[in-house]
Amino acid sequence: MNFEMPTLSLAPDVVFNIGSFGVTNAMLAMWILTGIVLLVGVLLNRKVGVVPSRLQVVLEGLITFFADNLETAFGSRERAKQFTPLMLAMFLMFFVANQFYVLPLIGDIVTGDGVKLLKTPTAHFSLPIAIAFVIVGMSHLLALKTAPLKHIGQFIKVGEFLKIRSVKDVPNAFLEFFLGLLDIVGEIAKVVSLSARLFGNVLAGELMVVIISFIAAPITFWLVPIPFIFLSIFSGLIQAFVFPLLCVQYVGGTVTAVQES
């Protein structure tokens, strides 16, 4: 049996157009996965009770996990309650999306033009970078809402110049000012690092399985990649956990830095 190396592409293919807006296969898969998560949530919500089912126990454990993490990050129970649904939704979405390619056959459906109908959504850079951008942007908006001048003062440290009492303080003030400017670069790096981490892990897991099954001997090509599939499932799970936790840290850090006097 001889089979060709599948073509690897980083950019998703356009499946169909709505007006001038191209719907890619990654987007289509994301919509379907969102629908599945919503459906499970609605169905579970109907059966929710005092005597919990197994799935309910798992989800309640997740909610308390994220709520506790948020409480330590924000320092207040109310803020934690506000943000728990967002972080939990992000976790559930990535949890399902990262494992998308494990589903058998679904990834191989091809439309008439030879374009794959569905693709792992997180292996396309737009989704992680969009979500990371929204989260970091949200943290800054919240901080601006609570204390606008103080938040801007953290990055453009003009206040340090006002504190100058003697000639000795001048270099220190300049240093603080440039460190503040560097923090702006740090905020942009947050977006890049959050998104590139998720994207790289998921894409690497997927490509590794493809490449390993290609270089394996013809008869054992289905057996050899199994450990690598386990590895990539594990790393996808870890990344699904890490992304919301890092978002919690970023949002919490930016917001509490403004609150504390």
Binding site: L10, S193, A196, R197, G200, L203, A204, Q239, F241
Partner: protein, 78 residues
């Protein structure tokens, strides 16, 4: 040297050098976390989740180099 050969070499060097730092870092994290767990086994759950998060942060430099080398290999930049 041909551009194709150069690309392969660049991807390999990028991944190889990029993985060194994060490998050392993750080893230090795992070692310290295991040490702490051995000293105080009741904290195990909390330490483990923190260990995973900090490992993922440490891993990010390796992931960047992975993304860069994947782009070198699979994206036609010319």
């Amino acid at each position: 040297m041909e551009i194709g050969a150069m690309k392969l070499l660049a991807a390999a060097i990028c991944m190889g050098i990029g993985a060194v730092g994060s490998g050392i870092g993750e080893g230090i994290i795992a070692g310290k976390a295991l040490e702490a767990m051995g000293r105080n086994p009741e904290m195990q759950d909390k330490l483990f989740s923190n260990m995973i998060v900090s490992m993922a942060i440490c891993e990010s430099t390796a992931i960047y180099s992975l993304v860069v080398s994947l782009i070198i290999l699979f994206v036609d930049l010319s």
